[in-house]
């Protein structure tokens, strides 16, 4: 089965979602990510969803759950690069991802994580 790669950079983990998300992939990512946060003692997680064109309620919830899990494991989460259409969809679905930090692109997302860690 496909897996979404998780990259480590310093004490941050970077997840770049480049393929269409389906439910099994999302659950696998959640497992992998929580395991990696514990293993690498990561302090920050950056999820890049700029390649994601379609988001349904399940994926939306999964993003917000993943962020909540990361917070429980003491890692800041930033979601970056959301497409306008995805943002509108999530708002219409009532998922405003409260508790998740957002940024426009990876660069700003990393800046946000660095700033938080200081």
């Amino acid at each position: 089965m496909d897996r979404i790669p998780i990259l480590r950079m310093g004490d941050c983990l970077i997840v770049a979602i480049q393929v269409d998300m389906h439910d099994r992939l999302a659950i696998a990512l959640q497992d992998d990510l929580t395991a990696r946060i514990v293993k690498d003692k990561a302090k920050g997680v950056l999820i890049d969803i700029s390649a994601l064109d379609i988001v349904d309620s399940f994926i939306g919830r999964m993003i917000s759950n993943t962020a909540a899990m990361a917070t429980v494991l003491d890692a800041q989460t930033v979601v970056v690069g959301m497409q306008p259409s995805v943002a509108i969809t999530l708002v219409e679905l009532g998922l405003t991802l409260t508790g998740v930090r957002t940024a426009l692109d990876v660069e700003r997302g990393m800046a946000l994580l660095k700033q938080r860690q200081r």
Binding site: V79, A87, I88, T96, T102, L104, G109
Partner: protein
């Protein structure tokens, strides 16, 4: 019966063509020219074309029922004419009169033609009457449809005009909202704001509601949606231009704006935005 009627009509039309044209034009000119919307030459052209298309169709068709496919050329001509007149600013009555004012001159000709055959005259008159009523109604319908098309196009234009997103500073956008916010407009506003955020990479956007006349729960909800969507894109929102009455309404309605920065004027909001982005503006001190 029908065939003989149409044949007789065609004959009358060709024989009295010029008289008909002049009479018809005289009838109609007084109405149409009065308001300076068209010229005599243009009207003359229109009448001549209509009459020739009308007689051609009449000669070919063996029915006087205007809704039949045989009458398509006449309907197409009338549709063109009505749409044109709708754009020129004619009233529906003036447009329909184009067809109806042909009735009287035609009756005069028919009466002359059938002077000895009373029965036939009545019959032909009735059929012609029905035909022209149908054509006149068709004209009015097309006229109405063209007007509606014009109105909906104007509405769209208004929608686009009323949602400009302007860049105030590096990384600061402003969205001055004018007019009532409904669902359709909120959608357009949201889309253009988010698009602009992507284009300019802005981190802060100011939504100015000075021009929004009233804020009810629905409008507030739409505003909060826009703010939430912008936040998902990684941009902070400031709502400015809240007038005293609107502040009162918001509190009375129990709308929760605690998670959003609100300022009373755009200038205040701009200063906050500058501080957040680490810039500042200062007045030059005279030496």
């Amino acid at each position: 019966m029908n065939a003989s009627k149409t044949a007789a009509l065609v004959e009358v039309l060709t024989r009295h063509r010029d008289t008909l044209l002049t009479d018809w034009l005289n009838q109609h000119l007084s109405i149409a020219l009065r308001r300076g919307l068209t010229t005599e030459a243009e009207m003359n052209d229109q009448f001549r074309n209509f009459l020739s298309i009308f007689s051609e169709t009449l000669a070919k068709a063996d029915t006087l029922d205007a809704s039949r496919p045989e009458w398509e050329p006449v309907r197409a001509f009338l549709a063109d004419m009505s749409a044109h007149r709708a754009r020129q600013g004619f009233t529906p009555v003036e447009t329909a009169t184009f067809v109806f004012s042909l009735k009287q001159p035609l009756y005069a000709c028919l009466r002359e033609e059938f002077s000895t055959r009373r029965e036939e005259l009545a019959e032909v008159n009735w059929s012609v009457n029905l035909l022209f009523d149908a054509l006149g109604l068709f004209t009015t319908e097309v006229f109405q449809r063209s007007r509606e098309a014009i109105i909906s196009r104007q509405q769209e234009e208004l929608l686009e005009l009323s949602t400009p997103v302007v860049q105030l500073w590096e990384g600061i956008l402003a969205l001055p909202l004018i007019g009532t916010l409904d669902s359709a407009r909120t959608q357009v506003v949201m889309e253009s704001l988010l698009q602009k955020i992507v284009e300019t990479g802005a981190a802060i956007s100011i939504i100015d509601i000075t021009g929004v006349p009233t804020v009810d729960t629905l409008v507030a909800q739409h505003l909060l949606k826009t703010v939430a969507a912008a936040r998902l894109m990684g941009a902070d929102c400031i709502i400015s231009g809240i007038r005293p009455q609107i502040a009162q309404t918001i509190v009375h309605l129990g709308v929760d704006l605690t998670n959003v920065i609100t300022k009373s004027t755009l200038a205040d909001a701009f200063i906050v935005a500058l501080q957040k982005s680490g810039s500042s503006i200062s007045a030059r001190v005279a030496s």
